[in-house]
Assembly symmetry: C2
Homo-oligomer: 223 residues x 2
């Protein structure tokens, strides 16, 4: 476990605060998580958040920035590997996997923090705070631009609007899959099914759904 507060370094406290906040945000929401509950969870004192992050909002920003940057970088790395060079058009399935896999993998990661953050991934799309939204958009911009650009190359006949909207639909499916699991659990309960699936199966299901969804783009959307 983490060292006792008395013999902890600055970095330890900062990380403990981030971890505790992340967990509470995932479980109860941001607004409902008080600095008191966060500092108690981190075994730090009440003033530590303001010392290390300036304010509660600063802490919120730090919580999201910490995980979003690696997540989106991973997506870009995987996308880059879908084509041997810049001239080659990437494979659709490889592209969709590059977008989806890093996020879905988080829900059963070895890292507790990743698992907690996964629950936040869906909710963050609907957060009302302008400040937080701006940060999320900043972190997401590069991914959004590179993936839509590559999708345009895969489907040269499709309009920009069509590409962007389908990308939007895809983001929604992914978010609900990663963070809205309680809903599917409910349904599976009703259907008397056990949830014995692994992440790989889930990724395959989602990529399969999205892939055929995208393949309908070239012809008329509605027959």
């Amino acid at each position: 476990m983490s060292p006792e507060p008395s013999d902890r370094h600055s970095q330890d406290t900062k990380t403990a605060l981030l971890d505790a906040a992340e967990k509470l945000f995932a479980h109860s929401g941001i607004a409902q998580s008080s600095l008191r509950s966060i500092t108690t969870g981190a075994k730090a004192n009440l003033a530590s958040v303001n010392y290390h992050f300036g304010s509660k909002e600063g802490l919120v920003r730090a919580v999201f920035a910490r995980r979003l940057h690696p997540l989106n970088q991973q997506r870009l790395d995987l996308l880059a590997r879908c084509a041997r060079d810049d001239r080659e058009i990437p494979d659709l399935q490889c592209l969709l996997r590059a977008f989806v896999e890093p996020a879905v993998t988080m829900i059963s990661s070895d890292d507790t923090g990743d698992r907690e953050f996964a629950k936040l991934l869906g909710r963050m799309l609907f957060e009302p705070s302008n400040d937080l939204r701006a940060l999320i958009m900043d972190e997401f911009r590069e991914v959004s631009e590179q993936f839509t650009a590559e999708l345009s190359r895969v489907f040269p006949a499709a309009s920009q609007q069509e590409i962007v909207w389908r990308f939007h639909f895809m983001v929604g499916s992914l978010a609900h899959t990663v963070a809205g699991r309680y809903m599917i659990s409910h349904r599976l309960e009703c259907l008397q099914l056990t949830e014995d699936e692994d992440v790989e199966t889930l990724i395959n299901r989602l990529v399969g759904f999205l892939q055929t969804g995208w393949l309908g783009i070239e012809g008329e959307a509605m027959p």
Copy 2:
């Protein structure tokens, strides 16, 4: 406009409170909307919420119950019209439209309340409150069961898991489309595109995407 508080009936105040709460919830989130701001917006006194709804949570429940019931009823009505009788298997496109259309239509409804509530539709899937989640699930259960049952008839070779997961993906796409519009707006801005589309086009785009997505279900998900 609504009548002045002094010459208003009980029902008027109740409705004014629901409208004001709905608008504030959509704009700032539930936790961030205080009873003070709600009652001020409704031109009612601070105590009125507790008088009419018992508590803030009672008001929250009422806000969601008011719109969710008609929305889901509309979905069921449209689904019922997709097949001439119980023996006939419904048309896939008709079924998907029945699920999607009532929600998407809300975003440009003539009723201001519908438009405000549409912004809440996505966020509600990730609300941490157990009480609210239970209400949402209760209202959604019938829709969820009937649509997945019909989808099983459309795709008899598909497993229950596959049906329920794809239904889950679909809910995510719809939620993000209806409530997460700020994100697509951002992208459209970046692409220098104007958002001059009407709702009908949007519904067609979404149904087109979902329809081809579902059509991939019979064969192997991954080739």
